[in-house]
Assembly symmetry: C2
């Protein structure tokens, strides 16, 4: 691994006085390095930074057209816009709630049928022998569901795989992940998650809700669907990255809110993932979307459950109410909770490390769609087999309670009036299993059952995450944690003399669940609120916080959170919150790309076409300069224009000569740019004749006339702060006479990260 | 009012080509205007913007000294810093919790004694007649307490008046309010709040906790106390505005957390008030401080209540647990809740309008400390008298329950075994009254009692807020709302046929309390979480959100929130989240101050002293320019230096000539600046001899070498976004040759606001 890590060696870098290698050369150089010194193993992707991802423009393009529109707009116009933002957020919440409702009902129906069939089959064969037929039936049923789920994902929309949370994190961070917020992705995601949950994989349907909400938001806010070729001619003002991002964060929050019945948790989730663009009005809109989402879900589920109007049981997952004892926990339990948090951190780190290796294996060897489908089917079959074996060999029989908390109690070899306890954990949707672990009476599970279950489910869940199916990791994590947490509770009760106060293993199950989930995903604030809202009880807020904090600290010592690992493995240029602490050494001069292709304010069409066609000058943004009066005077920066804008200009042939000859020609408006957004055609599809190449284009009306700039000596943390806080895509580096000397983009900043040996520089690659 | 509103008239402003009036002239001009056309009434302060408030530097001063220090620091150094940040946050939480605990216990003890004395007195005189003596005793007792509280505030530290929330909001926003985070303020605040609560005013002790937490944070994080002249020589790295602000937001969160037992609510409070500087690590530290704070308070209170180790009853105020009915509320109750939200919004707006007039009255006529003390005593006496009268004339007798929920049941004229219901509302600390309204059995209050109580308490609370005592408005608002909310519940139960489902007026009391508080302070997200955490029940989360949202929308239609009103009345240049919507017309050219006093890179000491002494050039920051090779070439911007830095340089006589002659002279270090922070001496106290005036000072090492700049044509919203997102104090406006043409500061941006007639410009005044 060491031979591909290119540490930033300060001695070889020029000091202020000496000339520096320019950025692109350094890169080509380092790339050659890795080719020459061919490593024995394929380079890990997390040591690379992919160049294929474009950035989003989270800074408004303030050109003349935009300013004119804003100035024309009256105060009432802005009020109307504000109101339509609220309307859009309401719609986002409503639709997200509906989708959650749909998923929930379909899963419940299909899973019900499946478990009923298998249960009847098992009961038939328990007496007469030949349970292997039941096993095969179960495994085949699971595999079929999973196969369908995997096929649609692998062949139709690979981006719909997994929970989608890393992708949404990246989107909010400003990375354009192709196809991530398309309608097709949503359809595949919804169908995929239904298949994988019904297929009995160790997955949850909650994570994908976040992605679904984000897609809904991106769709609704644009007032059109490019896939369906329908344009409703509404919300045209919102057709730019800045506005869209705000709505997507509302959609993600609505997704969390629907999944866990946690509107505040949803807002905090969006906040923890993308706080750099926060403001109060936006917070409230996001909150509104979250509320509507929970509300819609509750309302329709209450009708479905034939109890209309009862809104007090929100969310796809419901942890059930914890009894309000007079004293929920004692001071001396706090150290125990913290210890459990540490265990959660350790187990989470183990989970992440195993999954990391597995993902690298998958990247190398399982990249063909058919292989991916086969792997998913294999996992489904193995899951069924393992479950069946565990149930078969378990002799943990429990009396059937009068309240029938179990949906599908399996008697198997137990006496009449008893049920197999292991089966409640496996033979159920994971959501129900979590609830049973939280709330079943003390003594419902024997310790061995829990231990074995934890162990098997841990590896199953770890194997499952990263399969080419739509599925989340929240519920499996909670289930693993609840199992070992309950085990801890039982063990504590056994070793302590005063058994009474330890009487509630459900409490420990909750703490364990929080610890395990925290150890894997490493969220703290939002997760605390989500768990508190899902349990419907604030009493356990403090222990949950402590546990999550401990799990994070312990886990971070070993390895990053699961989502961050997957983001890194995809070589996405993700900008963290701050520049690495020890990066004050670096200045804009060293991190910027240089030389930069600049355009003149009035530029020849041929030059522009050539520039856009040349992929090596691919910053997607070009500083615009104006020549001084005399030719000796240097060209000063006067604006910045994006590739997408130039494409639109070329498409509409906005040439100086044509404007003169055809007086009637319509002036290009902001609407033309909005219509082309977000899928601008490639330069190759635009035909420019040889005559037209000689024409001139006047960019002054279309460029951002006041781009943000920094001097060359600005330190990296300062540059980073500016780019991160304002969501910039391009930052122009100028000298003290306002001449362009370089350009800083996302990749230039994301390259630097703190590794084990101090500051490291990632390589850029075209992968 | 119209004659002092100077609307921005576009025609009179120069267009791009014509020369502009410079900023300071415009201002003097407009000031004269208002003097000449002397208005009949004194100008309302909210139409002015005070120049007396300085800004804080929430952008790091990146000069050579700073960069050298950062570069010298190893990775371990940064880790240690990070750990000490966590330690400081822990300390902040611990101390804030302790203070809350202290206030709670002292108030409970003193109030207990007071009520016991008065109660015995009343009981003695009920039979024999002469209850007027009891009244006088009660009124005198109250007045004495309030007098003490008012005297220490009015004479020793006027900034400790009120809840302190507006001040902390301003601090986090970047406005330097003098003395707001000093130790003396804390002492006065704590004593003052005890006096005013024990003195029976319609106030709460929760708001001041936020201020107290902030002061603790500012003190602890600096590792020294300037007031006590103790320097512990620790945490020196944190002696700058950026770091201090982060800790102050943690302190504010810890304060909320201690006051309401709401750690998540605390974090969200800090977030809603100052989200522009947010990042993930900071969030977690703030969360940690909040947790420790609740935890400390719980722990010590559990010992005080002789139930050590029971940590499940957090916060100064505890709303008590709402029973978990199977169905908390039905769908058809939602419109009712929303209607109550609207009522809350209306009543809140009324409260704010009344308080606004009252505050203007106070600003004009009650500005001498003795008058202020007398007013406070008057309010205390009136409060006692009104309470007494109400109790006296009330004939609402209720049977004394077996559970003795009332701490001081007053029998008065009721039969034996009964108590006066009106007395429970008045003859109690407001916290207990709120709890009674939430949880007492249906029928404990008769509607008339509640109606009369709401009415009187509303006006009392309105009169009380803004008195020169330390006190908060949270609890009185909750109490008013709970009273009319319960009234609504009772009325609904009366008019509906199916009485059973309306059986719980406590639920309506909770909703009413939320509506009233929301209508007054207009927070949504944080308040939702605070109320949910304080009730310990997530079930009512959704209705509370709806109600708060409605109250905010309705209230905002009429008037701003209470805190914003008070900020405006103090003419504080508060920067809102975004520039006014219709301000795209304005560019940096129009808003900037110009001409700007610039300094040369190597400047004569005499010039610097004169510049600093001249109060008319008072931007507290000076662009540093460097002259070109030939004298014709214009001077280019090369840095920015602050008044405070220049003062330190002058004090240490860092002159070029002295450095040459005295080779042994110690080089000035960052430590010298940190030692002087934050109370830099005035220029008058620094003696510079005539010889020294001829010396030169080299600023290059001390100035921020890479200040942020914008071109002249940048639109106001763009400038605003940059300043707000990065917390800038000075933004240099340059032309396209990098020459300084102006300076944008906080006041230049805060001047513009959306009034009833579109964009308005506030006048700047020296008040």
């Amino acid at each position: 691994m060491a031979n591909i890590t290119k540490k930033v060696s300060w001695s070889s870098r020029g000091d202020e006085g000496t000339p520096l290698l320019n950025g692109s050369e350094t890169r080509r150089h380092s790339k050659e390095d890795s080719v020459r010194g061919r490593p024995k193993e394929i380079p890990h992707n997390e040591k690379l930074l992919s160049l294929k991802y474009e950035s989003l423009d989270y800074d408004n393009i303030e050109n003349q057209l935009f300013l004119e529109e804003e100035r024309r707009m009256s105060y009432m116009g802005f009020r109307c816009l504000e109101i339509s933002r609220w309307v859009v957020c309401g719609l986002i919440g409503f639709l997200t709630g509906l989708i959650a409702c749909f998923i929930d009902i379909v899963v419940e129906q299909l899973a019900g049928i499946k478990y009923q069939v298998v249960k009847e089959n098992i009961e038939r064969f328990t007496e007469v022998g030949g349970l292997s037929i039941s096993l095969i039936l179960w495994a085949v049923l699971n595999s079929i569901f999973v196969m369908v789920g995997a096929i649609i994902v692998a062949f139709f929309e690979p981006i719909a795989a997994g929970s989608g949370i890393p992708q949404i994190k990246c989107y909010l961070n400003g990375v354009k992940i192709p196809r991530v917020v398309r309608l097709k992705t949503l359809v595949v995601k919804v169908c995929g998650v239904i298949c994988s949950v019904v297929g009995g994989l160790a997955v949850g349907k909650e994570g994908p809700m976040i992605h679904s909400g984000a897609v809904v938001a991106a769709g609704v806010s644009q007032g059109r669907s490019t896939s369906l070729k329908r344009d409703f001619k509404i919300f045209e003002y919102f057709r730019r990255d800045t506005e869209k991002r705000d709505f997507v964060s509302a959609g993600a929050a609505a997704g969390v809110s629907a999944a866990f019945g946690a509107p505040v948790g949803g807002v905090l989730f969006s906040l923890e993932e993308g706080a750099s663009f926060w403001n109060q009005m936006l917070t409230w809109r996001i909150f509104f979307a979250s509320m509507i989402s929970t509300f819609t879900l509750n309302f329709f589920l209450s009708i479905y459950h034939k109890n209309p109007g009862d809104l007090s049981n929100p969310g796809l997952i419901n942890f059930g109410r914890f009894e309000n004892d007079s004293v929920a926990y004692y001071l001396y339990e706090i150290p125990l909770f913290i210890a459990m948090g540490a265990i959660g951190g350790l187990l989470g780190a183990l989970f992440n490390v195993l999954n990391y290796w597995l993902t690298i294996f998958r990247i190398r060897y399982v990249h063909r769609p058919c292989l991916q489908v086969m792997e998913a089917m294999l996992v489904a079959a193995v899951t069924a087999t393992v479950s069946f074996t565990m149930i078969y060999f378990s002799d943990d029989c429990q009396p059937l309670g009068p309240e029938h908390t179990e949906e599908y109690p399996l008697q198997l070899f137990c006496a009449d009036g008893e049920y197999n306890s292991m089966a409640t954990a496996f033979f159920n949707t994971p959501e129900r299993s979590v609830r049973s672990l939280f709330h079943n009476q003390p003594g419902s599970y024997n310790p061995l059952t829990l231990g074995v279950f934890t162990l098997t489910y841990f590896f199953l869940a770890c194997w499952t995450y990263g399969l080419t199916v739509s599925a989340g990791v929240f519920i499996p994590s909670l289930l693993i944690g609840a199992a070992w947490g309950r085990l801890c509770g039982i063990l504590l009760a056994t070793i302590s003399a005063t058994g009474s106060i330890w009487a509630d293993p459900g409490k420990y199950a909750l703490i364990g669940a929080a610890a395990q989930l925290g150890g894997i995903v490493r969220m703290t604030l939002s997760l605390t609120v989500i768990l508190v809202e899902a349990t419907g009880n604030v009493t356990y807020g403090l222990p949950i916080m402590l546990v999550l904090m401990t799990a994070k600290i312990v886990g971070d010592y070993f390895v990053e959170g699961l989502y961050d690992i997957h983001i890194k493995l995809q070589s996405i240029p993700f900008l963290h919150w701050e520049a690495p602490a020890t990066s004050h050494w670096l200045t804009a001069r060293e991190v910027m790309s240089s030389p930069v292709t600049c355009l003149n304010k009035v530029e020849k069409v041929g030059t522009i076409v050539d520039t856009l066609s040349n992929t090596s000058t691919n910053h997607n943004g070009f500083p615009v300069v104006v020549q001084g009066a005399s030719s000796e005077e240097p060209a000063k920066l006067c604006g910045l224009i994006l590739r997408s804008q130039l494409i639109v200009l070329l498409k509409h042939k906005v040439f100086v000569e044509l404007a003169r000859s055809r007086l009637t020609q319509r002036k290009l408006q902001l609407k033309d740019f909005r219509d082309a957004y977000p899928r601008f055609p490639p330069i190759q599809s635009i035909h420019v004749s040889q005559d037209e190449r000689e024409c001139m284009m006047d960019l002054s009306e279309f460029m951002t006339a006041t781009p943000y700039t920094v001097p060359q000596d600005t330190s990296l943390p300062r540059v980073f702060k500016l780019v991160r806080a304002l969501g910039l895509r391009h930052l122009v580096v100028v000298d003290d006479e306002n001449r362009v000397v370089g350009l800083v983009t996302r990749k230039d900043l994301a390259r630097y990260h703190l590794g084990k040996h101090g500051l490291e520089e990632l390589q850029l690659a075209q992968t």
